[in-house]
Symmetry: C2
């Protein structure tokens, strides 16, 4: 049995999206995005820093959204949502999957901290503007990669869940400008998928 | 033929380390860690933001160190440096592989920016100290995971290259304290591997 330890407006949405795309049954431990839940003794046993998502699969417990996606695909959905090793799209799949946390999420994290998490008197406008600029730069190659294709690695894949989730977050943070038409269309295309819409509505 | 586009003191060291562990022949395009090289028109054709590593494999070109590691293992070294899907260490391998960029590298990036890349008059001591604190917190679970094992997922694996590279960088940035004895021993253990030592000497 799969159990997802979850909080809204977090990377845990990626796992909801994945599991719904795959039509895999799972239970959800829905916590609030609040220290009382995430930093509780119970949750710190699952993740020492009190982060989500964490996935339980019988006696296996695993965290990091990218790791959970790879784990679920390998153990519960082999051959799905990921090009085969000899497929021409395999390198693009890997590249964009990892580009999400390597390039896109660091400035998103900073923007969230500087606009939502810190109290107003501790926010730093310079840090915020630098992060917005950096996020725009990081998204430009994604916009370009989508110029001639609907998804980042051929057919819809788990790379679109990882990176697409970060693109949708970027849109909500107001950083996807009118100059990024392909990225805007991509975000709309992803949100038209029922599994994605459900994950973002949760 | 594999060609690694490289600059010192970057994530490109992970790929040198990997290829030497696997004894795979490769050519190296050794650039300086300098805008004249990394932001050149030639290199921007390989990576639009002028980052390293980038790997060429005949007609394939791929960036993001985590993606390159997965690509090399899948196409050139199947079964090596990675537990099989049904191996009990498979979840730990994935978790720590992704923990590197998800949790450890963001504060490392900030520390490097605030101590090396920004001119002194643009550095922010508060941002630097917050990043050091965050990095210490991110490393604590790694230290704990190493309490009873030499490597993060059983035998030495590519997860030790990803995460170990970040741990070694953390040590050089002065953030691995005396309270992290397991992590300190791990760093020494990794640097005793010839492939690792060569990668960090390059």
């Amino acid at each position: 049995m799969l159990t997802l330890h979850y909080a809204p407006n977090s990377r845990a949405g990626r796992i909801v999206w994945l599991l719904k795309e795959l039509d895999l049954p799972f239970e959800m431990n829905a916590m609030r995005f609040h220290p009382e839940d995430l930093k509780s003794a119970d949750h710190r046993k699952r993740h020492p820093l009190g982060r989500v998502p964490v996935l339980d699969d019988d006696d296996v417990q695993i965290y990091e959204s990218g790791a959970i996606i790879e784990y679920v695909l390998a153990r519960h959905a082999p051959g799905k949502l990921k090009p085969a090793v000899d497929d021409a799209e395999f390198p693009a799949y890997l590249q964009w999957f990892h580009y999400c946390e390597g390039m896109v999420m660091p400035p998103i994290n900073t923007i969230v901290v500087q606009t939502l998490l810190l109290p107003p008197d501790r926010r730093d406008e310079t840090v915020l503007q630098q992060a917005k600029k950096l996020l725009g730069k990081a998204l430009a190659p994604v916009n370009e990669a989508l110029q001639n294709q609907d998804y980042v690695a051929g057919e819809f894949s788990a790379a679109d869940i990882m990176l697409g989730h970060a693109c949708i977050m970027s849109g909500r943070l107001g950083v996807v400008g009118d100059d990024m038409a392909h990225l805007t269309a991509y975000i709309d295309r992803l949100l038209a998928r029922p599994a994605c819409a459900e994950a973002f509505a949760a």
